[in-house]
């Protein structure tokens, strides 16, 4: 699936988007666990999970929203537009 990062999450991960095999991850929380195990960049980016927001297929979601069949998961900080 396509995984997107925005704002300081993008900067810490060092990528705006990447193709990731979610493997056995059933939700965003398990996907984050896989990523943080893979590379310290992710561990740094996802250190404070309370500061992370998630969208699944461009709909606001949360870390426990199921991601089976999803094409696009996005991680970002709380929004600050307007």
């Amino acid at each position: 699936m396509q995984v997107l990062y925005f704002a300081w999450l993008r900067e810490r991960v060092g990528a705006a988007a990447e193709q990731i095999d979610a493997g056995s991850a059933r939700n965003a929380r398990e996907l984050v666990a896989q990523l943080t195990a893979r590379d310290p960049r992710y561990a740094a980016a996802f250190a404070d999970l309370a500061a992370i927001r998630v969208a699944v297929d461009q709909e606001m979601a949360d870390l426990d929203t199921p991601i089976a069949g999803a094409r696009e998961i996005a991680f970002f900080p709380p929004v600050t537009g307007g």
């Binding site: 997107l4 925005f6 704002a7 300081w8 969208a55 461009q58 709909e59 606001m60 996005a74 970002f76 900080p77 709380p78 929004v79 600050t80 537009g81 307007g82």
Partner: protein, 150 residues
């Protein structure tokens, strides 16, 4: 077209005229324009950059507009949000609501801004002196949006 995400500036007079042109049963139009504040002293910003999530941003804004249309009888709605680099004094966002009577237009515009602030995927990065900093979300925006929960 109710929702636009764009780098270019907008003109409130033009947008208002467009919104009211086709309908002579509109009695009230409320607009909100958000601007880049410079701040003062140490906190003075020189510029900012607005990042967004292309695709989701337009969907989220349209969902907020649809929600407003469900709550108030509106003759017209327009939302424009800019992205990219901006300097103090520049316009960031426009919300326009048109209705028969003024109270609906006022309420809907404030609702749209409260929801936009907490639900539309935009992020601001400010330049202060040589330093760049991502703006933190504000609790006051969350409580403003929570007023409308039902």
């Amino acid at each position: 077209m109710e929702v636009s995400v764009q780098r270019e500036d907008f003109d409130v007079g033009t947008e208002l005229a467009r919104l009211t042109a086709a309908d002579t049963d509109i009695g009230a139009v409320v607009s909100f324009v958000g601007l880049v504040r410079q701040g003062t002293g140490e906190g003075r910003i020189s510029s900012m950059e607005l990042e967004h999530y292309p695709g989701m941003t337009e969907r989220a804004l349209q969902a907020i507009v649809d929600e407003a249309r469900g709550r108030w009888e509106l003759q017209g709605v327009r939302v424009i949000h800019r992205v990219g680099p901006l300097v103090p004094g520049e316009r960031i966002v426009l919300v326009l609501t048109a209705s028969r009577h003024r109270h609906s237009a006022f309420e809907a515009a404030e609702f749209l801004m409260d929801y936009l602030k907490t639900r539309a995927p935009f992020w601001k990065k400010e330049q202060r002196g040589g330093e760049a900093r991502w703006v933190d979300a504000r609790d006051s925006d969350d409580s403003a949006a929570a007023r409308w929960r039902r």
